[in-house]
Symmetry: C2
Amino acid sequence: MSAKDRFHDAVKTGLIKEGWEITHDPLYLDFDNTQVKVDLAGEKLIAAERNLEKIAVEVNSFIAPSTIYEFYLAVGQGLSYRIALGQQEPERQLYLAVPIFIYQEFLRLTLAQKTIQEAKLSIILYEPDEEEIVQWIS
Amino acid sequence: MSAKDRFHDAVKTGLIKEGWEITHDPLYLDFDNTQVKVDLAGEKLIAAERNLEKIAVEVNSFIAPSTIYEFYLAVGQGLSYRIALGQQEPERQLYLAVPIFIYQEFLRLTLAQKTIQEAKLSIILYEPDEEEIVQWIS
């Protein structure tokens, strides 16, 4: 299993432990009849439901050599995915899943925090080895 | 000269033709004492002035195989750079410079347009071979 797949599965397992049902893996987004090529950018979306809540989760592994490069990419993807999702399924909320160690090393720094606020992105922090969701930040 | 440098120089020449003076190449951004590593992400900023106007220009070449991947990256960079610039030099306006052929192929599509609007990014379209600025979109 690739490192990327391992992180992807850790988020899925973490969500299931919290009572979510995985309904789509991957979730494909269509927009103006053009399928958003989430695969090309390397990060797939997971869709999950719990009671009346519906979410889509973009799993970011941050395994590339440059954390800031992956961060910029995740922010750009997050904006586009939210727009596409808003057209397709406006009731489903988008989250970016980020490993907890990336939060501690980079994401809690002011520039990253302000960028996330500016982009109005919601975040799930997860622990990849324990396969657990640590925190939801909306 | 690398393809990336060629695009970078085309934007510079285009700005000079329009009466701008290039004041910094590259312009480095500092934020909370952490230099924003624009070099790591591969796109350098140019600073220019004309009369009382001051701009910073992030030159995007879109020479990577995946246009949408570069687009996501440019959007994420644009948000972070604008925040860092707002702290350092609030009077200087940020523009993303994009080759005109990328606009025609991709950037004018609805998903890209809506993402740019959501991110409130200003765009300069440039013609890389003619080394000319084609359009300013704020």
